[in-house]
Amino acid sequence: MKILELKKVRKSFGGIMAVESFSLDVEEGEIVGLIGPNGAGKSTLFNCVAGVFPPTAGEILFRGEKINNQKPWDLCRKGLARTFQIVKPFASRTVLYNVMVGAFITTDKRAEAELRAMEVLRHLHMEDCKDVRAGNLTIADRKRLEIAKALATRPRLLLLDEVMAGLRPTEVDEMVAIIKRLRDAGMTIFVIEHIMRAIMALSDRIAVLHFGTKIAEGSPQEVAHDERVIKAYLGEEYGAA
């Protein structure tokens, strides 16, 4: 079943075209990667899907329902969660507090929200830093906290915007393992990433964005050998390797 359908989505800011006629289907239980050079329109596309702003034209369907003009908080309640490229922790509060904000989505009871938040933290091996102020976390832990907050809302579809940028190689491996575990637990994941090693290892399918248009789509192998992708994004050395 298709969980997310993008049909000829276009987004322009004034005269600047950020995304042009982008179409993509995401199946339930898939990990789909979105790659492309800086400024290609990846985050803009995510923002359209997550309801930050509506697309200029085209249609976005989430579980068969058109969501073009829906607000982020309503979409989150329907099961669509996202992380931010520039992490946005509630810095003055503890890690547990941060995650509980997400967990309150299905309950009004504090005890229940706390229980759920702790579950998520254990799942991400973060229970030891539950009482640490979010502003004092390392960058790797901040990225994990972003995911923890999103997971606490129990999403069906998770949009991950560069959760591995700035991480050390061992931390990247850890993150890949975490994301794979989430998929195994039944979640669909749509991920923007620059670290090719990670996106190749993770994705079932990859779409490539360049100057706002999709120039390729396919399995990691297909995309890695696509002439246009090598030229626009990967670079000649990558194709040779």
Binding site: W73, A81, K88, F90, S92, V101, D108, A113
Partner: protein
Amino acid sequence: MNPSRYHKLSLILVVVIALCLPLVVRSATYLHILILLYLYAYLTTSWNLVGGFAGVLPLGHATFVGIGAYTSTILSLQYGISPWIGMLVGAVLSSVVGVIIGLPTFKMRGAYFALATIAFAEGIRVMVENIDYLGPFQLNGPRGLQIPPLNTGLANMMFASKEPYYYIILVMLVGVLALTWFISRSKLGYYLVAGGEEPEAAQALGVNVARAKLIAMALSSFLTAFAGTFWAQFTLYIHPKSVMSLDISFEIAFIALIGGRGSIAGPMLGALLLRPVGDFSRIYFGDKLPGLHLIIFGVVLVLVMFYQPRGLQEPLTRIYNRAMRHLFGGGETA
């Protein structure tokens, strides 16, 4: 002894001391200072629901004091309705006005929001100053309203001595502190803090930030109006400058910023520190250097923002916890 036990014990101790204070403090002047201290602690705690937890800086809360004061006073002067009932009517009215002000202004950020709330508050004050009759209600413009001290007694919230006022405002203060404690631990509290710190991130977690802020504003203006009625009954004379002026809004913000926004103890600590400074400087320097207290407030604010940007509540809480650990040997608890 576990930490929550000694927290509870020290809280009970503080309340008992507060209850007994009028037995020790016989001077009407000092009692008056204490009542105003509690009143400002109450006002700031009510303000804190929006200004602290929701992370915006409203500077027009005097409007709600004024609405509370005028509503109950007009109802009792013209219709003989008890101020206790007028207090509730005023609070509901204030809440409605709060939401009306909040609807457009919560879309603004930072200084723009603060300026917009000042504009609303000053606009309403100037209107009241220039209106003698609002429909059937007599406002008396700048001359204000005087409540003749005829029927003293609990039913009319009017007393010959200061002690009853002391206990009324004490109960109000304890009530609003308890409510704040409850809200800070509730879903609404979490949503307000999240929306105040990182609105975009909060929205992505299912928080309707605008709605949470409006609820907080409704609650805050509701509670603030109670203080207005109390003030009117305490001084028995209200006019726009006394209950709607910017000075009130600013002093609330001073107390909150110095004590610590967004914390439960902050407004109380801020009032404990600033109110006596203000009152004593007015008593001793009022004739030679009127307004000295405002300069002192300014200096204190600058120093606090420099060294303790989260307000004095943070270092004081740390000292309190350490002292408690020494006293009771609570081990590794914080």
